[in-house]
């Protein structure tokens, strides 16, 4: 176990630095050790099974987006990982500590932000952080400097002596994020960190999360806003009906779900001929007829290879005089992935 120490915020971690930092998530080596892991985790509330045999793997240094519809079991999983709830069966490990056997060791290495603010309105901003620092046994002498560093990091340095209830929603959320950092944890577990925030505050929180990941923290956060996840995550786990339906690095998931590139070819006529012509182009794996749309014929073409294959398709159709109107590549965004793997099951 590492010794308890005061947070070590690098000089670069100032508000100024953040506001100009492009969102570039860290690169996580493929062989990185797992810092959060669950094995066969199950949680039942009476007859209802909230989590069913869940096995999660979060590599060290990752920004792991835990995505799923409401009621999928995200919060239950997080409450088990943060030692707030006992699982019905299975094991959960954080930084090598089993959450039910060594909850105190787990609490030392995690920073938890629930899906609500959890702030004391009758306190000043610095008092709020000082209180939680004291709760984490941070010596009194180290607190003032650490609080200044954290407030700068979340761009609240100028609000240090204000009462917490005077802060905006976004500011409160940033203050909560600063609170999770007072004891310099290895893992941040954030439940819906961007929910209820305006677009600007959401971007600010996202930037902060990436900044923290670049400082070496592992971030495990839940969200149902796919755009947030897609932009900053290195890894993703999709949960539905209490079960992980898919997890891995972002690239891996996209590759697994969309092994081939796809284009939709729209034609005025001669769809059958187009199908056979396209099937003969080198690199094309599959050609499927699609239903007509507004009187136009459509064909879906799956292919392997680069843009040359697409160019060859256009040439082949033109040389046969097939009236093609356009050719559109299907985007492989997270939303498509999500819709493909989930079925809309809610526990």
């Amino acid at each position: 176990m590492t010794e308890q120490s005061a947070p070590n915020i690098p000089d670069g971690g100032s508000a100024e630095a953040i506001s100009h930092t492009p969102i570039v998530p860290p690169v996580v080596p493929a062989d990185a050790e797992m810092i959060v892991e669950t094995r066969g985790l199950t949680k039942r509330y009476g007859k209802l099974t909230a989590i069913n045999n869940l096995s999660l793997q979060v590599p060290k240094g990752a920004i792991y987006g835990f995505v799923g519809p409401n009621g999928a079991g995200k919060t239950s999983t997080m409450r088990i990982l943060t030692t707030l709830m006992l699982p019905s069966s299975g094991q959960a490990y954080v930084a090598g500590y089993e959450v039910t056997k060594d909850p105190r060791a787990v609490r030392k290495v995690i920073g938890y932000m629930p899906d609500f603010f959890g702030v004391y309105d009758d306190m000043k901003v610095w008092e709020y952080l000082d209180f939680f620092a004291a709760c984490y046994d941070i010596p009194e002498k180290q607190r003032p400097e650490m609080i200044s560093d954290l407030l700068e990091l979340v761009d609240l340095g100028h609000r240090r002596d204000d009462m917490v209830d005077k802060l905006s929603r976004g500011m409160k959320q940033r203050l909560c994020l600063a609170r999770t950092l007072v004891h310099d944890p290895q893992v941040l577990i954030l439940d819906e960190p961007a929910s209820g925030l305006d677009p600007r505050a959401r971007v600010e929180i996202r930037e902060l999360m990436v900044e923290l990941a670049n400082m070496g923290k592992t971030i495990f956060f839940s969200s149902h806003i796919l755009a947030d996840v897609a932009e900053i995550c290195t890894h993703i786990g999709i949960i539905e009906g209490g079960q992980i339906v898919m997890q891995g690095s972002m690239d891996e998931i996209k590759r697994r779900l969309m092994p081939h590139r796809e284009v939709i070819v729209t034609l005025l006529d001669k769809a059958d001929e187009a199908k056979s012509v396209l099937g003969g182009v080198a690199g094309v794996v599959e050609v499927t007829m699609l239903p007509d749309e507004a009187g136009r014929k459509r064909v879906r073409v799956s292919f392997e290879g680069d843009d040359t294959v697409m160019s060859n398709m256009v040439q082949a159709l033109a040389s046969r005089g097939i009236p093609m109107m356009n050719l559109t590549e299907q985007s492989h965004d997270l939303e498509t992935v999500f819709m493909k793997v989930t079925k809309g099951i809610v526990t």
């Binding site: 707030l84 306190m123 008092e127 984490y136 046994d137 009194e140």
Partner: protein
């Protein structure tokens, strides 16, 4: 155990962040001092009223007994303070833990390294600190009674002990229900029900039993040892609530000049005269309620420590 710790670490162990936070919040701004000032102002007014009422009553020679005035003032102030403690101690503690749940800060505290013991004790100590501040602030007012005579330092100290123990046990009851019940409202209702039981119902029971026992003692046909047993029983019953304890303690203090042990004489049906050694009720009351408070705090800590299943 703490030999290997540095000074800073030992200091950290002694500190209670919850108590610091609560006291900081309670004493912030002018509110706390305004409350204190208004409280003392009202108490002074009440004392003045009591003074005027007691001086108005004269004895058959047209004199007013200074000792009587002093005792009336003292008893009046103690009664108001008991009323105050009865209402304030539960009010400050019944929302202690449930309020954290409602404010959604409970989970945050549970994921820190703050031991459950520090959370519970911090809440209780900070609430009691303010109650004790009110009690201490009224001591100069109580001491005015000395100018008239009829009140001893022992009475002042014992009244403070009884009020203090009452505050501690009612505070512990509040914290206990606050941890047990999910909502502050439910915790408040239950705590006040228990408080009323201790401060109103029990004294009534004591009064009725006392009337019965008093008429029984000295009656012919009842053996001395039965009368002695009845006296012990009455003493235990008296010690179950602050009001009866305060009255009985003062009664025996005045009549037996003892704040600890004294003897009562009972005469049995067979003419046997028996000396019964009794202990002053405040001692029993203090020991009993401090044990109750300790058990409640212990149970509350266990409850807070428990991880949701």
């Amino acid at each position: 155990m703490t030999a290997g710790l540095s000074r800073a670490e030992r200091r950290l162990r002694r500190q209670n962040p919850v108590a610091v936070k609560e006291l900081r919040g309670r004493m912030r701004g002018a509110r706390a001092f305004i409350v204190l000032t208004v409280y003392l102002f009202l108490m002074s007014g009440f004392m003045l009223l009591l003074y005027m009422l007691s001086t108005a009553s004269q004895d058959i020679y047209g004199f007013t007994s200074g000792g009587q005035v002093g005792r009336t003032l003292f008893a009046g102030i103690v009664a108001v303070e008991l009323f105050l403690v009865t209402f304030i101690a539960p009010a400050f503690t019944a929302g202690a833990i449930s309020g954290e749940r409602e404010r959604q800060t409970y989970d945050l505290l549970r994921t820190t390294l703050l031991p459950a013991r520090k959370l519970v004790v911090g809440k209780l100590v900070s609430a009691l600190a303010y109650v004790f501040l009110l009690l201490l602030a009224a001591i100069p007012l109580q001491s005015i009674a000395f100018l008239f005579g009829g009140v001893t330092e022992a009475e002042l100290i014992l009244a403070f002990v009884i009020l203090g123990v009452t505050a501690i046990v009612l505070g512990a009851v509040g914290v206990f229900f606050s941890a047990r019940l999910p909502r502050t409202l439910a915790a408040n209702v239950t705590t006040y029900a228990v408080t009323l039981g201790i401060t109103i119902v029990l004294p009534l029971v004591v009064f009725i039993v006392f009337a019965i026992v008093n008429s029984t003692i000295g009656l012919r046909g009842i053996p001395a040892d039965v009368q002695a047993a009845l006296l012990y029983g009455l003493l235990i019953l008296v010690a179950t609530n602050p009001l009866a304890t305060a009255f009985a303690t003062q009664y025996w203090l005045l009549n037996k000049q003892s704040a600890f042990l004294f003897t009562e004489t009972v005469t049995g049906s067979d003419g046997v005269i028996m000396q019964v050694t009794l202990i002053s009720p405040w001692v029993l009351f203090t020991v009993f309620y401090l044990i109750v408070a300790a058990v409640l705090v212990f149970q509350t800590v266990r409850r807070v420590r428990k991880i949701e299943g």
